[in-house]
């Protein structure tokens, strides 16, 4: 990993995404540098998941550009991994799900076996190794998705609400895992609805609201002195839709 030069920074230039006749992401521009853990926050439907998928290259912007400026011609996609908000499991065992991901990177089978055992142990899934992945509980699947992404040792790890279905202790443990992954040099880009978690994890915060990037600031600055009124009321836990909808 260390030997490979970084594909970062990731530069979003006026990225716009339209679907179903609606502009869902509106001219988002920002630079994600190697190093700091970037946390994207915003209310439901703000466009956080769309933005992660745009960054990860799963969907193409209908306007603007997404550029891995460090990639220098090489394919950046194999150096990224993502944990989806709804984890998707293949119809095979827990261990085979991790192993499959590793085999896509062409790793030799003994190294694969080692990494599989390692990440399953660290996410508390060792005793489920042979169970069919699709019968796991939702929280267990979320852990498995994290284990699978982690095993790939990506340069950039996208996490879409990785602890939404985890119990309190598991949530803290996963935060430790994220810290550990980050410590190995991996760039973390995650979303969360848990403001406590955002405060604990974030180095910088992107605040998204109705498809627009309202703020991108260091975490301390954002939580202490948010620039926009929207961000301020979000931090206070005020409800946008109730005011807007019921009034309208």
């Amino acid at each position: 990993m260390k030997s490979v030069s970084s594909i970062l920074p990731l530069i979003l230039d006026k990225v716009t995404f339209e679907a179903g006749g609606k502009r869902l992401i509106k001219e988002v521009s920002c630079v994600l540098e190697a190093g700091p853990r970037s946390v994207i926050i915003g209310p439901n439907g703000a466009g956080k998941s769309l933005l992660l998928r745009l960054c990860h290259g799963l969907i193409e912007p209908t306007g603007g550009s997404v550029l891995w400026s460090g990639a220098g011609g090489k394919d950046p996609s194999l150096l990224q991994a993502m944990v989806f908000q709804r984890p998707v499991m293949l119809r095979r065992s827990v261990a085979a799900n991790v192993d499959y991901a590793l085999s896509l990177r062409g790793l030799p089978s003994d190294e694969r076996r080692e990494r599989v055992a390692d990440v399953l142990a660290r996410t508390g899934l060792r005793r489920f190794a042979d169970r069919s992945a699709r019968v796991l509980s939702v929280g267990e699947q979320q852990k498995l998705a994290l284990a699978r992404a982690w095993a790939l040792r990506p340069q950039v790890l996208f996490l879409d609400e990785p602890t939404a279905s985890l119990d309190p202790a598991a949530t803290l443990a996963v935060e430790d895992v994220i810290a550990a992954i980050h410590a190995t040099g991996t760039k973390i880009v995650m979303t969360t609805h848990d403001l406590g978690q955002a405060r604990r994890v974030a180095d910088d915060v992107l605040f998204l609201y109705r498809g627009r990037l309202f703020e991108h600031s260091p975490a301390g600055v954002f939580f202490e002195t948010p620039r926009s009124a929207e961000a301020a009321s979000f931090i206070e836990g005020k409800l946008f839709w109730r005011h807007k909808e019921i009034a309208s």
């Binding site: 194999l78 989806f84 998707v88 293949l90 095979r92 499959y100 990177r105 019968v135």
Partner: protein, 235 residues
């Protein structure tokens, strides 16, 4: 109605007398249809999957064509293969005309569009569910193709059975390229057609009943195997 009873009687007497000619015909039928379907699956499954996954110019046209080819009349396939394999045709030198191999080729061509079209649909449905995850993991289109064929194996099984049904039922193609030559290329369906044209409806129906029994046996066996595999992967 008497004809139906006569057919049942003919079927049971054929079965219980264990007629040697019948055994020969049954074995040839099985060999031809099973080989053809195996070959068609080897070609049609990846082909259908590729149609679902690989974007290329004219992809929709190919999809329409494949689905139209499901309506390819066996007689037409038979004629084309006949013209290819006939002494005057481009592959005449191989001397394949009126051999079981020719019948296998014709049936295989007939079954490929069916398996490919049904596979395309199944793989497309699976892609909707798993596509982004696979792309995120870095699966290229080929690898994704194999993965989805594997993920959908139990559903695709039905597609292959549909192909087998078509192969074992058709008569037009094997009649033309096989020639329905007794002891050489006579199979169940051509024997049925022959007895029909002779006017021996009871015997024709009797053979039909035997064919359905055979087909039920094969489908049932395949089904049980599938169930067992499905159960074992559930745990």
């Amino acid at each position: 109605m008497t004809d139906l009873y006569a057919a049942l009687a003919a079927a049971s007497s054929l079965i219980f007398s264990f007629d040697r000619d019948l055994v020969e015909i049954v074995l040839l039928s099985l060999r031809v249809s099973l080989t053809a379907v195996a070959a068609a699956a080897i070609i049609g499954l990846p082909l259908g999957g590729a149609l679902a996954l690989f974007p290329f110019r004219g992809r929709k046209a190919v999809m329409v064509a494949i689905s139209a080819l499901m309506g390819l009349p066996p007689v037409v396939v038979g004629l084309v293969v006949y013209l290819m394999l006939s002494r005057a045709g481009p592959f005449g030198a191989l001397g394949l005309l009126f051999t079981p191999t020719a019948m296998i080729i014709a049936q295989c061509l007939l079954v490929i569009p069916i398996i490919a079209a049904l596979t395309r649909q199944t793989v497309e449905d699976l892609w909707e569910e798993l596509g982004e995850q696979l792309r995120s993991l870095g699966a290229g289109p080929w690898r994704a193709l194999w993965t989805l064929l594997w993920e959908g194996r139990f559903s695709l099984f039905t597609a292959v059975l549909a192909g087998f049904g078509r192969a074992s039922a058709e008569v037009g193609a094997v009649m033309i390229v096989g020639g329905n030559i007794d002891h050489v290329t006579r199979v169940m369906t051509t024997a049925i057609a022959l007895e029909t044209s002779k006017g021996d409806l009871a015997l024709a129906l009797g053979l039909g009943i035997i064919l359905i029994i055979l087909s039920t046996g094969i489908n049932g066996g395949a089904f049980l195997l599938k169930e067992a595999a499905q159960k074992s992967q559930m745990s």
